[in-house]
């Protein structure tokens, strides 16, 4: 059944044991962030906070909306349910489903006349961001972050491209927000198009939208591609949008809270730092970043604000950003003629690793004879793509390894990677400044080195692969089957 708003999503998760309502008053100052982090790190149900000790109420907060679950066989249940897939769908299947949708025709959003988000609206002088329950998430954050999982809507001045994205937004005061607006990101491109005309960029920030939207916002689609249409193609239905009140934009009609206004690239204020996806709270002091001036705030009664406490894996940056990245890279690799069985950003790698697996006959399928050259081609494809721009390290393995199984991945990387032979090193290439280990000079330059680790079988072996000494691989199929069938007979449970 389609989950067309956040409340339906919460009920679906509740039925699966993935929601924990918290009625005890919780402080927005660090306590809420700490609870979400603990939930994230233990795989506990997503916390739904009903009351706050330092906020008058009228709002709720949903933590860890796309976190992973400790329930056996349901690690990615929140992602799967959000994307309207069976709850037990695994990461590789989710990535395949997303990648498969990229060849389908877009289904553009439809505009509806009314939306519950307009149950309460303030505009102009009445706007007050401090009335919202905005948490201080990490000890060391430079401020309170309103947007960690919302959909930023922006459109180019000529109306040809409507971009939906996610980027952090910190509350500056009652009427202003600020955040990272990188020029190479789509939000930055649209903002620059407006700035080139000498105008601020109209924006809408839709918080608490239907559950699939953040995943498409986190997906590194090519420029000029509307995320709304692509999400329609993935879900097989049009997303409902509604006309904003003070800007000429349509925002997802499912929003719990809708912020409207204009982004001024030329008005810089102090923003950050904030604990980020790499798992660290940056040591940097505040940076001067553009200002979002807010012209309207609308919200549903008892609105629910989704909150991500970014940091050590696995949190929503790794699921809602990393997983769609995997899907897009898989699609890009296949389009480039690389016979990838899968491309997978291990959730625990915090977007610093990408694993590409290939079948044993990759030479015959790709027409490339040597594994070193093959790895270089993979690196060229990945690092040139928007999705791969973040990824600094690629691991290429034969597809007998399941890259979603960390134990298997660690073993395979440790035992199949020659320290010297066959790797493709890219000495100087564009890099995302949020990579954890970058030197300051690299962050400033936006360039670093990247590598593709060649963990394929030696070229001399041809298509022969290492024989694995495991229960599953190291015995004839009938013995494996026999032992499985008789397991309880042996006395094991």
């Amino acid at each position: 059944m389609p989950l067309t708003d956040l409340r339906q999503y919460i009920e679906a998760l509740r039925d699966l044991g993935e929601i924990r309502e918290i009625d005890a008053p919780v402080s927005l100052d660090l306590e809420l962030g700490a609870i979400i982090r603990r939930c994230i790190e233990t795989g506990a149900p997503a916390p739904l906070f009903n009351t706050f000790s330092d906020h008058p109420g009228g709002f709720r907060i949903l933590g860890a909306p796309g976190g992973i679950s400790a329930q056996p066989g349901m690690e990615l249940v929140r992602v799967a349910v959000a994307l309207e897939l069976p709850p037990t769908t695994g990461g590789l299947a989710i990535a395949e489903a997303i990648a498969a949708s990229l060849d389908r025709l877009a289904i553009d959003p439809v505009v509806v006349d009314a939306a519950p988000v307009f149950e309460n609206t303030v505009t102009g002088a009445a706007v007050d961001l401090t009335a919202l329950p905005v948490p201080l998430l990490h000890y060391g954050d430079g401020g309170r972050y309103l947007n960690t999982f919302g959909c930023i809507v922006a459109r180019t001045p000529d109306g040809s491209w409507t971009n939906w994205s996610i980027a952090r937004m910190m509350v500056i005061d009652g009427k202003r927000l600020s955040g990272i607006v990188a020029p190479e990101q789509h939000l930055g491109m649209v903002a620059k198009a407006w700035a080139d005309l000498g105008k601020p960029m109209p924006f809408a920030l839709a918080l608490g939208v239907e559950p699939a939207i953040p995943f498409i916002c986190g997906m590194p689609l090519p420029a000029q591609v509307d995320e709304g249409g692509r999400l329609g193609a993935l879900l097989g239905r049009a997303i409902r949008t509604v006309q904003c009140r003070t800007v000429d934009l349509e925002a997802p009609a499912s929003a719990e809270i809708l912020i409207e206004g204009h982004l001024h690239l030329d008005e810089l204020v102090e923003e950050g730092p904030m604990g980020e996806f790499a798992g660290y709270i940056p040591l940097d002091t505040q940076m001067r970043r553009p200002t979002y001036r807010v012209s309207a705030i609308s919200h549903r009664d008892n609105a629910i604000l989704p909150v991500v406490a970014a940091g050590e894996p696995v949190e929503e940056n790794h699921t809602a950003w990393g997983l769609p990245c995997s899907a897009q890279i898989l699609y890009d690799l296949r389009k480039a003629g690389i016979p990838a069985t899968t491309a997978w950003i291990p959730l625990q790698s915090a977007l610093h690793w990408l694993v590409v697996t290939v079948p044993r006959d990759w030479r015959r399928r790709s027409g490339i004879g040597e594994s070193g050259a093959f790895c270089r081609r993979i690196g060229q494809t990945v690092f040139a793509s928007k999705a791969g721009a973040v990824i600094p390290k690629v691991i290429v393995l034969n597809d007998d390894v399941d890259p979603t199984d960390l134990k298997e991945l660690v073993w395979a990387f440790a035992t199949r990677c020659h320290p010297l032979l066959g790797h493709a090193v890219f000495d100087d290439i564009e890099a995302a400044p949020l990579l954890a280990y970058l030197r300051r000079s690299e962050k400033v330059a936006g360039h670093t080195g990247k590598i593709v680790y060649n963990c394929l079988a030696p070229d001399e072996w041809g298509e022969a692969l290492p024989m694995r000494a495991s229960f599953r691989h190291g015995y004839p199929a009938e013995i494996v089957d026999r032992v499985r069938r008789r397991w309880s007979e042996y006395g094991f449970s």
């Binding site: 044993r360 006959d361 030479r363 015959r364 004879g369 040597e370 034969n398 007998d400 070229d459 001399e460 072996w461 041809g462 298509e463 022969a464 692969l465 290492p466 024989m467 694995r468 691989h473 190291g474 015995y475 004839p476 199929a477 009938e478 089957d481 026999r482 069938r485 008789r486």
Partner: protein
């Protein structure tokens, strides 16, 4: 579907897998015992080590005991009689033990007293199968488990037609195996290395000489087992990346409609092997690699291996046998290969030129060669049949 029905369906699948050689008869035995709530199952089939019960793991003491009592097994005797007298009536049928052998007769028999009662064969159901002789299935329980009933009869009757077909399948595959074994034996006798590989260099067949070469410590080519699973196959590879690359290219050509080609492979000792790669004839490929009809359509490459770095000449015994040469004529013929003159040979052997010329005339006559050049061609051809890789 009820559990029993599902188990029956699974058991039928296992029976055909075992009959085709892809599965295990032990698995079938497990399943039959589970379905019938039985302790033991017996189906004696012939094999390389002689007839044995394929449905249960060998048990030393029981095997020894049953070896002695087999001839006195009243169920086996009854099965032989029924099969001989009314085969069509009994095939596929199943009966309770008491219908096969009267209870009183069984309980008073030496078979029961000394053997069956100690080996969980108090209660029995027998099902008839067989091709040229009775090959029944016997399922049994000990005394403590109680007798079988009509439900068990129905279950075994359901399985018996499939057991019969699996036995037929096993026999047919056995005949095909014999034909294939003949082809393999012929290839093993060739004086050159022969191999068949698929497009990924997975080895489908190598003859005896090629196998010896690949196993040599200094060989430029080698075979290696591949994973990730046990039994994923054996692949051909070259010691050097460059030669592996050329080999892959030639095999790719031979398996994709091209002609293949030839290459030299150098071993660590410096010995050079010539490797010819060509499309494998479909019939040969199917026969030696044991492929079924579907897989037989896969293009395979034929490999011929010959060492190139030593002089190749037939042995004297071979020449004497083939052409009726005298020992001296055979030695002169060998000495002449490689372009030596009659004078050289005379000098080398310490005989007169006249003697050698006379021997040459005799050699040409016996070998029906028109001249020495023609004879050299004959010698070169014979050289190809000299075992060299051993």
């Amino acid at each position: 579907m009820k559990d029993t029905e599902r188990e029956l369906a699974d058991c039928v699948g296992a029976i055909y897998q075992a009959g085709a050689g892809d599965g295990s008869w032990l698995d079938v035995g497990d399943r039959i015992c589970r379905i019938m709530d039985a302790r033991r199952a017996l189906l004696v089939l012939g094999g390389p080590g002689g007839p044995r019960n394929v449905l249960m793991p060998a048990d030393g003491s029981e095997s020894a005991y049953s070896g002695y009592f087999h001839a006195r097994d009243p169920y086996a005797a009854k099965a032989r009689h029924d099969f001989a007298t009314a085969r069509a009536h009994h095939l596929g049928n199943a009966k309770l033990g008491a219908e096969l052998v009267a209870e009183n007769d069984l309980l008073r028999s030496e078979y029961y007293f000394d053997f069956a009662r100690h080996h969980e064969r108090r209660h029995v159901i027998g099902g008839m199968a067989g091709l040229t002789e009775a090959t029944p299935i016997l399922v049994s329980r000990g005394d403590e488990s109680g007798a079988f009933d009509e439900t068990h009869i129905r279950l075994l009757k359901t399985l018996m037609p499939h057991v019969q077909r699996a036995i037929e399948l096993r026999a047919r595959l056995g005949r095909e195996y014999e034909a294939s074994a003949l082809t393999r034996a012929a290839l093993d006798a060739l004086p050159v290395g022969v191999g068949v590989v698929d497009a990924g260099l997975k080895i489908r067949f190598v003859n005896d000489l090629a196998r010896r070469y690949l196993a040599g410590p200094d060989s430029g080519l080698f075979s290696m087992r591949s994973g990730p699973y046990a039994g994923s196959g054996v692949y051909l590879a070259a010691m050097s990346r460059e030669e592996t690359s050329v080999l892959r290219r030639l095999v790719a050509s031979a398996t994709s409609g091209g002609t293949g080609g030839a290459m030299r492979v150098t071993s660590r000792s410096g010995a050079v092997v010539g490797l010819m790669v060509a499309p494998a004839p479909q019939g040969l490929a199917a026969e030696v690699s044991g492929m079924d009809g579907g897989a037989a359509r896969e293009a395979l490459a034929l490999l011929i291996l010959r060492p190139l770095d030593r002089k190749v000449a037939p042995q004297a015994d071979m020449l004497c046998e083939m052409f009726g040469f005298s020992r001296a004529e055979a030695e002169v013929a060998i000495a002449l290969t490689g372009g030596a003159s009659a004078e050289d040979v005379a000098r080398g052997r310490g005989v007169s030129l006249m003697t050698v010329r006379s021997q040459i005339r005799s050699i040409l006559g016996k070998s029906e060669a028109e001249n020495l050049r023609d004879f050299e061609r004959t010698m070169a051809t014979l050289g190809a049949f000299v075992p060299q890789l051993r």
